[in-house]
């Protein structure tokens, strides 16, 4: 650049100082100087353009779900949260003076646990071509968790988290923060399982998850990872080899509930039946007793009414009542027979034949009693 300026400036001067003995040379050098001048102008424009581009390259925009920080000579510009630039356009000196680092604060990140699941692949799992479970688990290939009662289960989890404000620690303090979050998650899984029984770990997934979350929270605090846990998903299963055994226990549980429900409904039925029967019996007693009392009272009333008449002439009274009653009885009787008390000086003998073969006693027909006279 400097060379160009130094060489190009003196050249146009000779035509002014030495007026032309040789016109052909002058014309040639003039043309050359013209050419140089115009190319120099182009270079100038280019340079200005380059300078503009250089400074213009310092513009950058920050997205809605991120923050940015400017490092000037490697050092953050501003202190703590003030150093953070929000969404919108910003400008910084181009490299090597400034460096812009963007922090994806609002974005949800996902990590999956890397321990606890048997050796398989997504493809194999999706296509259902997983190998049959072997009699044992190879520690180099198969992941699993040990439960507090010294059993083995498989479990996998996924963790959704966000970088918490201001996000400086997450960005600048860890070589691979995501990996550390993942390991904390792995550790939380092991820790939670180590304190649970196999049944709790498999059946009480919310409880398991809570333990994992609690431990994870502790680790995030201890290791100062600077993240917020959004959600934890867990999928614990029994070892594949023991799947039928675990299913049998489940079936037994279901069956037990069924049997118990049946027993309970029997209990309900029986006791409610007994209740109603008891009520019937008590009410029967009440009715009977009331009836009896009423009858006796009625009898007593009748007695009191009749007593004066009876006292006037007991014999007549009794005879009349007897006759009345007898008349009613005789009137109501279906068959009546009058026999002489004594015939030919002998007592009269009556024989009854109860015939079982003619089941039509309701129609008035031949009398069911046969009377013989001797």
């Amino acid at each position: 650049m400097k060379d160009l300026q130094l060489t190009s400036n003196p050249k146009p001067e000779p035509p002014h100082e030495l007026p032309t003995p040789e016109m052909t040379e002058d014309a040639g050098s003039q043309a050359l100087s013209e050419a140089l001048r115009s190319s120099f102008a182009i270079v100038k424009i280019l340079m200005i353009g380059l300078v503009l581009v250089f400074f213009g390259s310092g513009f950058f925009t920050v997205g809605t779900q991120e923050k940015a920080i400017i490092l000037r000579f490697g050092k953050p510009v501003g202190e703590g949260e003030k150093a953070l630039l929000g969404p919108g356009p910003h400008w910084a000196f181009p490299s090597p003076v400034d460096e812009v680092v963007k922090i994806p604060i609002g974005q949800v990140q996902t990590v999956a646990s890397t321990i606890g699941w048997y050796a398989t692949s997504v493809v194999k799992e999706a296509s259902g071509t997983e190998p049959e479970p072997g009699p044992s688990l190879n520690p180099a290939l198969d992941g699993y968790l040990l439960t507090g009662d010294q059993n083995i289960i498989h479990a996998r989890g996924s963790l959704l988290y966000r970088i918490s404000e201001p996000g400086l620690r997450f960005t600048f303090d860890f070589a691979d923060a995501a990996k550390l979050v993942q390991n904390a998650f792995n550790n939380a899984l092991i820790f939670a399982a180590a304190n649970l029984t196999v049944d709790d770990a498999l059946k009480d997934i919310p409880g398991f998850r809570e333990k994992v979350a609690l431990r994870l929270q502790q680790l995030i605090g201890q290791e100062q990872l600077g993240v917020i846990v959004d959600r934890i998903d867990l999928q614990p299963i029994p070892p594949r080899k023991l799947k039928p055994e675990f299913e049998k226990v489940l079936a037994a549980l279901v069956n037990r509930d069924k049997v118990l429900n049946e027993a309970r409904s029997y209990e309900n039925q029986t006791t409610s039946r007994a209740k109603s029967e008891a009520a019937v019996r008590i009410n029967g007693g009440i009715t009977e007793s009331n009836l009896m009392v009423q009858l006796v009272v009625a009898d007593a009333e009748r007695f009191t009414e009749l007593l004066p008449a009876y006292r006037r002439n007991p014999q007549l009274f009794m005879r009349q009542r007897q006759q009345e009653t007898l008349q009613r009885v005789l009137a109501n009787a279906e068959y009546k027979m009058v026999l002489p008390g004594v015939a030919n000086g002998k007592p009269v003998e009556v024989r009854l034949q109860l015939n079982r073969e003619t089941p039509k006693p309701k129609t008035p027909g031949p009398p069911p009693a046969e009377v013989d006279k001797h």
Binding site: L6, F172, A194, A274, D299, Q322, E334
Partner: protein, 321 residues
């Protein structure tokens, strides 16, 4: 020769840039640095910013990543204090703390530092894990579980080793990443789990039967008790009724003969109410009217009428059914 001021300015700027490049260097916020003078570490730098140095070959700077690194040990077999073989893998968070120690020790290579850490972790395995029984790694009893304590002990041991060895590192944290059992042991665990499941299945089934029988028998007992109580109650009510009825006896006591007579009449009537066959002899009143002539005077005394009546009823048979 005349110089354009613009040219001069540009030249000056370029000179400044060149000198700056020669005499300064940057330490990024994620880095630490050490400046060596003739190859000897002379100045450690732990704060970010722009720093001065003499140009090569006098001084040279070496920048290192000072962020926390994640180091994972191998999945190694360790014997617990009660003789169980346990497989343990840990992750360790470490960073360069004193670059002037770190640089000569590991030639500035984090990989070499991690190789050394591996040895320290192995020491911690035998020194710490070997002191604890298996039940302190996994246990349903929270008091017995010493998971966190074991991690802490291992971390402290490694931190102490790092300090005494002057590695220039800082070990920030340590966590167990994986726990396992040797392959042959997993097979034994499976067998035990299998028998445990069978046991549990039987237990659940028996429990179901037992509980349902308990419920049923309780229901039966309850209903029987309820009925017995109801019977007792009903009997009591009847008794009350009877005693209340007995109060009316006083009325009848005025003339027991009449009371008796009335009751008899009533009894007779209700006894012979329906579908009755009566065999009567002619002496029964009023059938005595059927006799040719009643010779003499008086009506039959009630006693004889009664006896006739008795006969009649004795002879009566309800043959309707």
């Amino acid at each position: 020769m005349k110089y354009n001021p613009l040219t001069l300015a540009i030249g000056f700027i370029l000179l400044v840039v060149f000198v700056l490049l020669l005499f300064t260097f940057q330490v990024r916020t994620t880095e630490v640095s050490v400046v060596t003078t003739f190859g000897k570490p002379t100045r450690p730098i732990t704060k970010p910013g722009l720093y001065f140095q003499w140009p090569w070959p006098i001084q040279k700077h070496h920048n290192f990543d000072q962020r926390i690194h994640n180091f994972e040990s191998k999945f190694e077999q360790v014997l617990t204090s009660d003789g169980y073989n346990l497989l343990v893998m840990v992750y360790v968070g470490w960073k360069i703390d004193e670059p002037e120690l770190f640089f000569p020790r590991f030639n500035g290579s984090p990989t070499r530092a991690e190789e050394n850490l591996e040895g320290l972790v192995r020491n911690a395995y035998s020194g710490v894990v070997g002191k604890h029984p298996f039940s302190q790694f996994i246990s349903t009893d929270e008091k017995e579980l010493k998971f966190v304590e074991i991690e802490k002990e291992m971390l402290e041991k490694i931190q102490a080793d790092v300090r005494t060895n002057h590695y220039g590192l800082e070990v920030r944290f340590l966590g167990i990443k994986k726990l396992g059992l040797p392959e042959s042991v997993t097979q034994l665990v499976f067998e035990r789990m299998q028998s445990e499941r069978a046991l549990q299945e039987g237990k659940i089934r028996d429990e179901g039967t037992r509980l349902s029988e308990e419920i049923r028998s309780r229901a039966n007992l309850e209903s029987a008790t309820m009925l017995a109580q109801a019977d007792a109650e009903a009997t009591k009510i009847r008794g009350l009724g009877q005693s209340k009825a007995a109060e009316s006896l006083k009325t009848f006591e005025q003339d027991p003969a009449l009371a008796n007579f009335l009751q008899k009449l009533e009894g007779l009537e209700s006894f012979l109410k329906e579908r009755t066959t009566l065999l009567l002899d002619e002496s029964t009143s009023p059938l005595d009217l059927l006799k040719p002539t009643p010779p003499a005077s008086t009506a039959q005394p009630p006693s004889s009428a009664e006896s006739g009546n008795k006969k009649a009823t004795r002879g009566a048979q309800d043959i309707g059914q």
